[in-house]
């Protein structure tokens, strides 16, 4: 090559790089800002007017004569005040529920009654009701006993409700406003700023020029038309948290844990937080932009008090947040659907989570294997490739639980098929994996290749279970991974049933019991679609527009998969499903990950607040791709990401097809040994993880507890999102999120003694303490007063540990001299635990006595399982923070108490204490 042409190539390479760099920044223009979303603009304008126009008045007037109270429900009618319009009536209810929460609902009378005309559009007349569709109905029980009208006069109605009538609701008539009080203190107010909005029905013929500019009747984004057959129908409401400076939740965003103000140059957020599930690869960090999942649940926290709201709506939603010196006001608006809000008054986080997750669904108790380490890559390309990776894990002595196959294992991206050349014998591969106790997880997406010779496509089209385009008749057709595709309509119950049936062993040839499922692209992702998703005027079964159900599409996909998987194994075994998209309640069915991260420090840091927020808002079985989906991280970032990764509830390594291979041994020494040690920590702590998952499953409490939950009275911790506790274990983790450092300051919120998990060095006193953090060693502290249960034997996979003995770390409190811990375990695979087949123990230590208590609420129902686990023993007890020559062990069982003394070695270790847990 001559010099001239060489120069030419360099020049073009540089131009190429500039273009690529530029396209990343340009990517944000693929997604709407609130100003580009007509209904958001309209609702935000209302808020601006309220703020700057002293004569601003709310749109609604209460018909005071309409107010009634009966059987735990307040009902009434609001009238919309528009000149030359009469009879714009909006019935509302406030229902008091048995779990202590309250529900505010509002709809338009004409639409409720079907008194509307949408010309020839094949769309429903009524507004979409998430609760009804989402199967929440059975969980909503009105409390007809406790609520009681205390005051009803010309100005207001006051109802006391909840336990001991501790809670009150005051409905102010003029202006219309609802206050919620706990112990006579106002906690939450609806419509304090009079931003309540519900756009009324109007015939298309009456549209005005002004309507056009506000995007009421049709709207274009990215040159794609949204035909809006029902015209404007948005709804909005302001919700104020009185005395709360911190609000959390509403995932999924890569923002801070404590949410930021959204119209404020100081926070840098000029747009509201948005909830609209999109496939946003290489997303921006520290941004209110939408990501893959949407949970319209917000929690407010102040010293020793937690309250929250659930905005039950699945359409595009924006949330503005404003704060003053003492309180937080939020403004919620959605494009369509009913107005339906649940109000929770705590007072504790546990009360809040129990009630909220009681409504939307408790997090699944996942199969034990899924809490282990997952090895994924786009792609493991052949059976041989899979076999090599599996063997190498054994050779390098690293545990893992599941190997994952991305889209290229299929025959031409036809899901439920295998590439004949590269995966000719999937069942043999599965069997080989099983001989090491391992699983396989394969990807299956809800877009289906349009191919008449492909059985899934054929059945789907023949049965008409597809999403339709705006005509309501033709299939919605677009590009996705397989090329020309159609989408499964999960809003057709028969379609759900059918999709679920595809997972059966006879349909999904080559599958077996150790094969599990990954549903990706279920926002849904549509190549070249508006905002990479489906057209909002596409039509689903029953005449719902896609706009009505958008944020619920992924959830219903998972609902279908979950039921199909339960059926596959005859209702005996627990499914494991990974989903990218989610809504409130998806946690009961699946785990999720936070999507297409870059392998950069910035995205690495961003992952933690995102995972913490997902947990707080009810999607706790969550994690990020280790060590970033895109790019080739350097060894330092690679190891640091594993350090944090072992504390993601969902712990999976994954990498894009263009990246270099990164199985955990490929960076060589010393990194390989570091990662082996880190994996070891994850596996040693599996009993604690599993116990924590069970707690979450029972209570709705997050798995990872941010500082504000672990220390609810410590205000300093309310916006800390770079350290966290693992459940109730007392483990405090402070990950290293910056390059080139070897120590860090960990924040201690109380004056309890904390012990370094590696060498048991003591850390005492409230405040920041510097701890060492050389590469490969993530700072982990064990809080005094806790007993940690581990299994020190690291097997090839987590299920292979279930017969192994335990080790107890007893970290004695410097204040009380005592410690306590819990252990939950079951078979790790089946639903038998729902019938009592599990072991539940509380272990306490005080004054040299270790008590082991059976905390099974129905010990008799667990007896058969317990009998089968009689060999389960404690092999080692480690006393931390106390010097004793011997201790007494007291085991409390159904048949009484037995006790004996055991000797403590000089290093504080009790070997073989002869303690069997059953």
């Amino acid at each position: 090559m001559n010099l001239v042409s060489f120069k030419w190539i360099i020049q073009w390479a540089i131009i190429g790089l500039l273009v690529i760099g530029h396209s990343e920044a340009a990517f944000r223009h693929s997604f709407r800002t609130s100003a580009q979303d007509g209904f958001a603009k309209r609702n935000r304008q209302l808020a601006t007017e309220q703020k700057y126009n002293p004569n601003y008045k709310g749109q609604f007037q209460l018909d005071t004569s309409s107010i009634t109270f009966s059987d735990g429900v307040v009902s009434g009618i609001l009238k919309k005040q528009i000149p030359e319009k009469v009879d714009l009536l909006f019935p509302f209810t406030v229902s008091f529920l048995q779990d202590g929460s309250t529900r505010f609902q509002l709809d338009e009378k004409r639409r409720l009654e079907g008194d509307v005309d949408y010309d020839d559009a094949k769309v429903r007349m009524d507004r979409f009701d998430v609760a009804q569709y989402h199967d929440l109905g059975s969980r909503i029980n009105v409390d007809t006993e406790r609520p009681e009208v205390k005051i009803h006069n010309k100005k207001l109605l006051k109802v006391d409700y909840g336990n001991d009538q501790r809670f009150s609701m005051i409905l102010h008539f003029q202006p219309f406003m609802i206050e919620f009080l706990r112990d006579d203190t106002v906690e939450i107010v609806l419509n304090q700023r009079q931003l309540l909005n519900m756009e009324h029905y109007r015939p298309r013929a009456e549209r005005t020029r002004e309507d056009e500019s506000l995007g009421m009747w049709e709207e274009k984004f990215d040159n794609i038309l949204d035909s809006k057959p029902r015209g404007p129908e948005s709804l909005g409401l302001d919700i104020s948290f009185i005395g709360y400076k911190h609000v959390y939740g509403i995932p999924e965003h890569t923002s801070s844990l404590s949410l930021k103000e959204t119209n404020n140059s100081e926070t840098g957020y000029t747009d509201p937080y948005r909830l609209y599930n999109v496939d946003i690869f290489e997303y921006e960090v520290d941004s209110p932009m939408s990501q893959y999942g949407a949970i319209p649940f917000m929690q407010a926290h102040k010293v020793n008090s937690d309250v929250g709201i659930f905005w039950s709506n699945a359409a595009a939603t924006w949330i503005d947040i404003e704060k003053d010196s003492s309180s937080t006001s939020t403004h919620w608006y959605s494009e369509s659907g009913k107005l339906d809000v649940f109000i929770y008054l705590g007072p504790t986080a546990l009360d809040l989570y129990e009630a909220y997750s009681g409504l939307t669904g408790r997090t699944q108790l996942p199969p034990l294997f899924s809490i282990g380490y997952h090895q994924c890559r786009w792609n493991y390309f052949s059976e041989e490739d899979v076999q090599n990776v599996d063997n190498t894990f054994n050779e390098v002595d690293m545990p893992y639980d599941a190997i994952w196959l991305d889209i290229d294992y299929t025959s031409g991206r036809r899901y439920f098929t295998w590439d004949e050349a590269t995966f000719p014998h999937p069942q043999e591969t599965l069997k080989k994996l099983d001989s090491n106790g391992r699983k396989m997880v394969v990807i299956l997406d809800p877009h289906i290749k349009n191919d008449p010779n492909y059985f899934v496509s054929k059945e789907l089209l023949e049965n008409g279970f597809t999403v339709k385009d705006s005509s309501g008749v033709e299939n919605y057709n677009a590009e996705c991974w397989p090329g020309d595709s159609v989408w499964v309509d999960f809003f057709n119950m028969e379609g759900q049933e059918w999709w679920g049936s595809l997972y059966s062993y006879d349909k999904f040839k080559g599958s077996d019991k150790n094969l599990f499922i990954w549903n990706d692209m279920n926002e849904p992702s549509v190549f070249k679609g508006p905002e990479t998703s489906m057209h909002r005027d596409a039509i689903h079964h029953g005449g719902w527009e896609h706009r009505d159900i958008h944020n619920l599409y992924g959830h219903e996909c998972i609902n279908s998969t979950y039921r199909g998987m339960v059926k596959r194994d005859n209702g005996v075994l627990r499914p494991f499903i990974l989903t990218r998209s989610f809504f409130a309640g998806t946690n009961a069915l699946a785990a999720s990950w936070i999507g297409d991260t870059l392998g950069t420090w910035e995205h690495f840091r961003g992952s933690l607040a995102t995972v913490l927020t997902n947990g707080v808002a009810g999607m706790p079985f969550s994690g990020a791709d280790v060590a970033g989906f895109f790019g080739n991280p350097d060894p330092e970032l690679f190891v640091r990401w594993y350090e944090l990764g072992i504390f993601y509830p969902f712990f999976r390594a994954h990498a894009h097809i263009d990246t270099k291979r990164r199985e955990p041994w490929l960076y060589g020494e010393p990194y390989t040994s570091m990662i082996r040690n880190l994996l070891g920590i994850r596996y040693r702590l599996l009993p604690t993880w599993y116990t924590t998952f069970h707690t979450t499953h029972m209570t709705g409490l997050p798995i990872l507890r941010p500082q504000f939950l672990a220390h609810p009275a410590d205000e300093i911790g309310f916006d800390i999102d770079n350290q966290f506790y693992l459940g109730d274990s007392g483990l405090l983790i402070k990950p290293i999120l910056e390059p080139s450092i070897d120590k860090t300051a960990v924040y201690i919120a109380d004056d309890e003694t904390y012990y370094d998990f590696y060498d048991f060095n003591e850390i005492n006193g409230k405040g920041h303490h510097v701890v060492p953090a050389p590469l490969g060693k993530i700072p982990i502290l064990l809080r005094g007063g806790n007993i940690l249960v581990t299994r020190e034997r690291i097997r090839r996979a987590s299920e292979l540990t279930i017969n192994d003995p335990f080790t107890l770390y007893i970290a004695v409190s410097s204040k009380t001299g005592s410690a306590t811990g819990d252990l939950y375990m079951d078979d790790g695979t089946s639903f038998d635990y729902t019938k009592g087949a599990y072991i539940s123990r509380k272990i306490t230590f005080k004054d040299g006595v270790l008590d082991v208590l059976d905390t099974h609420p129905h010990p008799q129902s667990g007896i058969r399982y317990a009998e089968s686990m009689k060999h389960l023993k404690v092999e080692r007890i480690i006393l931390i923070g106390v010097n004793q020559q011997k201790i007494k062990i007291r085991k409390h069982g159904i048949s009484g108490v037995s006790s004996w003394d055991v000797k403590v070695d000089t290093d504080g270790v009790i070997k073989k204490p002869d303690l069997y847990l059953v």
Partner: protein, 492 residues
């Protein structure tokens, strides 16, 4: 009691104790050959095998790890760094890591690693499978080797042929170099001799050119005369039959003739002009050459110009139809017809060209003959360019031994190096957003060339597994590790 009998008793007691110890020492997870390492000291202690730590003998296999090297727990999973011995009677003994013991997965074929579940003893079955696969394997190696030997023989023939070619090329090179030398000498001699006076040579050449040209023009004139006669004849025919009825064909011929006639007239004019030009320029040149040219280098240049002029003239003559391109031999200056010096220069050029080609050929042949193809040297001649193909998915993979690897028409790499049975093909077509493509071909013994699998483990880096007799080696024959087949000790 006699001393002797006491000794006897002591010996008896000792042997009893020993067998007692032996009985106790059927320790789980240890091979018979290691049993002697697991003996207590007199006071019931035992020293860890890989460290100085001493523990109670009863702590061996008590399911608690005491020795840093894990040697106290060969039969449990208590130590993370221990190993467990599977005796596998009837099959092959082996060690597994301690953390595979009692984990509910059967890893030893005799099931000895699992006490919590019952494992089926599969040793006999596995031994059968092993024997069969061993036989099959050895058969394969045997068959592969035969083919390989055949290839080696063919390769040897080809190599011999290459050697012969190389030798003949070498001989030819010598000959031509000799010829070249002679030619150069001739040039030298000519330059020094009186006849080699450049002016003389040039003017002689020019005379020749002039004569040729005049000959040419004479000939042309002759043709013209004959043509005129023909024209007259045809005119007469035309006039004679003007008023009569003709058939179409003849009329057409006459029409054409009319056309041709008009062209001829034009041509005559221009060719005459050329004739004159030529004559004057050649005369002029001849004069210059005689009067002014003095140095050889200068003449050389003139000579070249003249040659050009000559060729241009010739081309013009052909173009104008004066000269037929099919009759150049008589009119054009060939090597034989050229001047002596020109002929020598031309011969010299030809010799140099041929030498260059021969050197190239020689280098290629030499490269083939050199021994740098690790291990496969004796196969190289036969295998070079040998093609193996396999369709994987949508792609056709094609391996050309010692040349290139292709995916459809995309070059995945050119042969770069061989190490053992692994061939590296580097610097293939470069990837968008990735490196240059490359392929590693790993060859295993087989009875024919056959691609087994293709894996693009990371972007644009291909690993291709294939079979070929070329990779067979007598060292691949395996002897059975089964005890009943061979007397193999425990240690493996």
């Amino acid at each position: 009691m006699h001393l002797k009998s006491r000794n006897f008793l002591a010996a008896l007691f000792g042997s009893l104790l020993f067998s007692f110890v032996n009985a106790k020492l059927s320790i789980r997870g240890i091979s018979e050959s290691e049993l002697h390492l697991y003996k207590p000291t007199a006071n019931g202690q035992w020293k860890c095998l890989g460290s100085d730590k001493t523990i109670g003998f009863e702590q061996i296999n008590d399911d608690y790890c005491d020795c840093p090297d894990g040697s106290d727990e060969p039969g449990t999973s208590a130590c993370s760094n221990g190993k467990f011995f599977c005796k596998n009677d009837g099959y092959i003994s082996k060690y597994i890591p301690s953390n595979w013991v009692d984990d509910t997965k059967c890893d030893c074929c005799d099931g000895s690693d699992e006490s919590l579940i019952k494992c089926e003893n599969t040793c006999k079955k596995e031994a059968e499978v092993y024997k069969q696969s061993l036989t099959k394997h050895n058969q394969l190696v045997n068959d592969g080797l035969k083919i390989r030997d055949d290839w080696i023989a063919q390769s040897a023939v080809m190599k011999k042929e290459t050697k012969r070619k190389y030798d003949s090329v070498s001989v030819k090179i010598t000959e031509i170099e000799k010829l070249k030398k002679e030619l150069e000498n001739t040039v030298q001699t000519l330059k020094q001799s009186p006849e080699s006076d450049s002016r003389f040579v040039l003017s002689t050449d020019l005379e020749e050119i002039k004569n040729d040209l005049f000959n040419l023009l004479d000939e042309r004139n002759e043709y013209n005369e004959r043509l005129s006669a023909l024209e007259n004849l045809l005119d007469e025919i035309s006039l004679q039959y003007e008023t009569d009825n003709f058939d179409g064909t003849l009329k057409e011929a006459l029409d054409s003739w009319e056309d041709l006639k008009s062209q001829n007239i034009k041509r005559k004019v221009s060719s005459e002009k050329i004739h004159n030009d030529l004559e004057s320029s050649l005369t002029h040149l001849s004069r210059i050459a005689k009067e002014e040219a003095t140095y050889f280098s200068f003449f050389k240049k003139i000579e070249k110009d003249l040659t050009e002029i000559y060729w241009n003239v010739k081309r013009s003559l052909i173009d104008f139809g004066i000269l037929s391109p099919s009759i150049p031999a008589t009119l054009l200056k060939t090597a034989e017809g050229g001047s002596y010096l020109e002929r020598i220069h031309s011969d010299l050029d030809a010799a140099e060209d041929e030498l260059e080609n021969l050197h190239k050929e020689q280098a290629t042949l030499l490269e083939d003959l050199q021994e740098h193809h690790n291990g496969w040297d004796n196969l190289y001649r036969f295998m070079k360019g040998m093609k193996t193909e396999l369709k994987v998915g949508d792609y056709l993979y094609k391996i050309l031994f010692f040349e290139n690897v292709y995916q459809d028409s995309i070059n995945l790499g050119s042969f770069s190096e061989q190490s053992g049975n692994t061939l590296k093909y580097l610097n293939g077509q470069s990837c968008w957003n990735g490196p240059d493509r490359s392929a590693t071909v790993v060859v295993d013994c087989g009875t024919e060339n056959e691609i087994v699998s293709v894996l693009e483990a990371q972007k644009c880096e291909y690993t291709i597994k294939m079979k070929s007799p070329a990779a067979c080696s007598p060292s691949q024959f395996q002897t059975s590790l089964l005890k009943d087949d061979n007397d193999v000790p425990d240690e493996l």
